[in-house]
C-alpha cells in the first residue's frame, strides 16, 4: 500500500476478527474482514441478517457489548492511525465527532425522557463546547437540515412518527460534521415510501458535508442507488468487493450471483423464484474451508479444506473463491 493510496483512504479495516461468547459457546461473528473507504465516497456493506455487518460497524466504533465479547483482533485505521490501539479516553473524542453511526431501529434508538434537541445538543456540547443556549441553537439548525421544523425541537421522541424519529437519529449522527458516517440499515424499519425519503436525505447530507459513508443493508436496490463501492458479506467474511458496476454487471462469487439470481426480474415471466438453497451457517459452527461451500452448486473438494483468500478478478474487483477462474461470468 503506497502513500498516495493511503492519502485518499479515510478508513481502512484490516483482518478484523470478532468472537462473541454465548451460553459458553464461541460465536464467530467476524472472520477476517478487510476493506477500504475513500474520503467522501460511499461503501455498501451487503449481506443477510446475521452475516456480521452490524458487528463490523460496532467494532469500528468500539461500542461492542464488553461482557459478551471474547476476542477482537485486527486493525481499524482511521486516517492512518489504528483506532483500536488508542485509549478509551482518546476514542471518545473520535466517537460522535469524527466517526458516527446511524442506527437501525428509530423506535428504540432515542432516549424517551429527553427532548430531541437535548439529545442532539448533548453531542454538540461534548465535542464542540459552548453553553446550553448555543448548543440548542445549533441543534435546531441540524434539525432543519434533516427536515424537522424548529418549533418541534423541544418535543419528546414519542411525539414523532417513525420516519421523523429516524431523521432525528441522523441529526444526532451528523451534528458534529463527522468524516465517516456508518448507517446500519437505516431504512429497514421504515415504511417503503418513507424509505426513499430517508435515503435521499442521507445521500444529500453526505454530499453536502463530504462525509464518507458506510451503508449497511441487505437491500441491493438501495446499494444501486447511492453506493460507489460494494462489499458483499457472508458468514463474517467479505466474499466479494469492487465498484458498484463490478458487482452489479459482473458478479463473480457464487453467493453474489445467487443473490442477483434470486431477485425477481421485472421483465421475465417465471413460475418460481430461485432462492439460494440452504440456510446461512450457524456462527458457532462454521463449515471448514469456504463458509459458503454447503450451499454452493459449484463447490469441489478443494473448497472444503483450507481458508480461502481473495483473488483479483478485475481492477479493484476481488473475489473470495478458489475456483473463480473456472466460473463462467
Amino acid at each position: 500500500m503506497d502513500n498516495t493510496e493511503k492519502a485518499t483512504e479515510v478508513l481502512a479495516v484490516r483482518d478484523l476478527v470478532v468472537e462473541y461468547s454465548s451460553d459458553g459457546m464461541p460465536v464467530h461473528a467476524v472472520n477476517g474482514v478487510s476493506f477500504d473507504l475513500a474520503a467522501g465516497k460511499t461503501l455498501g456493506l451487503v449481506g443477510e441478517t446475521g452475516a456480521g455487518k452490524t458487528t463490523i460497524a460496532k467494532t469500528i466504533m468500539r461500542i461492542l457489548p464488553d461482557h459478551a465479547v471474547r476476542k477482537v483482533e485486527g486493525q481499524v485505521l482511521f486516517k492512518g492511525e489504528d483506532i483500536r490501539a488508542i485509549s478509551e479516553v482518546v476514542m471518545r473524542k473520535v466517537r460522535g465527532k469524527q466517526i458516527s453511526m446511524i442506527f437501525q431501529d428509530p423506535m428504540t434508538a432515542l432516549n424517551p425522557v429527553k427532548t430531541v434537541s437535548e439529545q442532539i445538543a448533548e453531542s454538540i456540547r461534548l465535542h464542540q463546547g459552548g453553553n446550553k443556549k448555543q448548543a440548542h441553537a445549533k441543534a435546531v439548525e441540524v434539525l432543519e437540515m434533516v427536515g424537522i421544523s424548529a418549533d418541534r425541537a423541544d418535543e419528546y421522541p414519542h411525539q414523532f412518527s417513525g420516519g421523523m424519529k429516524q431523521r432525528v437519529v441522523i441529526a444526532i449522527a451528523i451534528a458534529c460534521n463527522p468524516e465517516v458516517l456508518i448507517a446500519d440499515e437505516p431504512t429497514t424499519a421504515l415504511d417503503v415510501t418513507i424509505q426513499a425519503q430517508v435515503l435521499e436525505l442521507i445521500d444529500k447530507i453526505r454530499r453536502e458535508l463530504n462525509t464518507a459513508l458506510i451503508l449497511i443493508t441487505h437491500d441491493l436496490g438501495i446499494v444501486a442507488e447511492i453506493c460507489d463501492t460494494v462489499a458483499v458479506v457472508y458468514a463474517g467474511q467479505i466474499v466479494e468487493t469492487g465498484s458498484k458496476e463490478d458487482i452489479f454487471d459482473r458478479p463473480t462469487h457464487p453467493y453474489t450471483r445467487g443473490l442477483f439470481a434470486a431477485l425477481p426480474d421485472m421483465y421475465k415471466d417465471v413460475d418460481r423464484l430461485s432462492p439460494i438453497d440452504g440456510m446461512p451457517p450457524d456462527p458457532t459452527d462454521l463449515p471448514k474451508g469456504c463458509s459458503f461451500n454447503p450451499r454452493c452448486w459449484y463447490a469441489a473438494d478443494e473448497c472444503k479444506k483450507d481458508a480461502i483468500s481473495m483473488t483479483q478478478v478485475g481492477t479493484g474487483h476481488f473475489c473470495r473463491c478458489c475456483r473463480v477462474d473456472r466460473i463462467e461470468v
Binding site: H67, R92, K93, F103, V113, Y156, H158, Q159
Partner: protein
Amino acid sequence: MLLYIIKRLLLIIPIILAVTIIIFTIMNFVPGDPATISMGGERITPEQLEVLRENMGLNKPFFERLSTYLYNVFFHLDFGVSYTTGSPVGPELLVRFWTTFRIAIAGIILTVLIGVPLGIRAAIRANTVEDRVSMFLTLLGYSMPPFWLALLLVLLFSLTLGWFPSYGSTSFMHYVLPTVCVAIGGIAGLARQTRSSMLEVIRSDYVTTAKSKGLTENKVVYGHALPNALIPIITVIGSQFGRLIGGVVVVESVFSIRGLSVYLLNGINTRDYPVVQGSLIVISFLFAVVMLIADMFYTYSDPRIKARYARIKKSGDKNAKAAG
C-alpha cells in the same frame, strides 16, 4: 398536572371510607362483647352490664352505629374512646403516628440512599465476582425474618457491645437500631430490583446511541440509563413500602417502641375495637398517601405520562396531531 394530583387526592377519600366501613363491619361480627371487655374482668351484674351497653350505644342498630362512627371520624376526627384505658383514641393515635412515621421515613430514606447505588453498581459490574457476592448478600438479607434480624442486632449492638439501647423511643439513639433494621430488609429488595431494572435499560438501543456519541461511561449510566431505569424502580419503592410497614410493625414490637403498630396489636389482643379501628384507618391513610407520592414521582419522571396530564402547548398540540 395539578388537576391530576387533586384527582388522586380525592380518590383516596372513598377508599379510606370503604376501608373504614369494612373494618367496622368485621370488628362488629367478631365474637366478644365490648362492654364486658371494657370492664376488664371486674365483676358486674347483668343489669349493670345492660346499663353499660346502653351507655356505650351498643344496642343501637348496626347502621346507626356505623354512620355515627363515620360521622365522628370524618367530620370531628373523633375516634372514640378506648375500651381499656377510657382515654380518647384520637390524640393517642396522633402521638404514635408521629413516632411510627419517623421510623418509616428514616427507613425509606436509608433504603433508597444505600439500595439504589448498590443496585446500579451491581448492574454496571454485572456477572463479576463483586456482583455475584453482593447479590447473594442481598438475597440473604431478603430471606432473613425481620424480627430475627432485629433480635440479632439487639444481641450484638445492645447487649454485647452496649452501643445502642434496646428498647424505648425517647432519644435519637433509640431510633438507630430500629431504622437500620427496617432499612436492611428494604435495601435487599431495592438493590435487586434496581439492578435488574438497570440491566434491562443498559441493553437498550438508546444507551448504545448515547455511547456512540462519545459520552463517558458515567454520563451514559447516570444521564441516560438511570432516568429511564428509575421509572420502574419508583413503582417498586412504592410497593416495597407495604413490606416496609410490615417491617416497622415487627420492629416496634421487638424494640418496645410506643408506635402505631404496637398500639394496634395491643388493641387486637385486648379486643379494644376503637383502638383497632382507629389504627387501621390511620395506617391505610398513610399508606395511600405514600402511594400517591410515589405515583407522582413516577408521573413526573416519564414525559410520556406527564404529557397526558400537562397542559399541551398550542403549537405542540397542532404538531402532535399532524405527526399522529
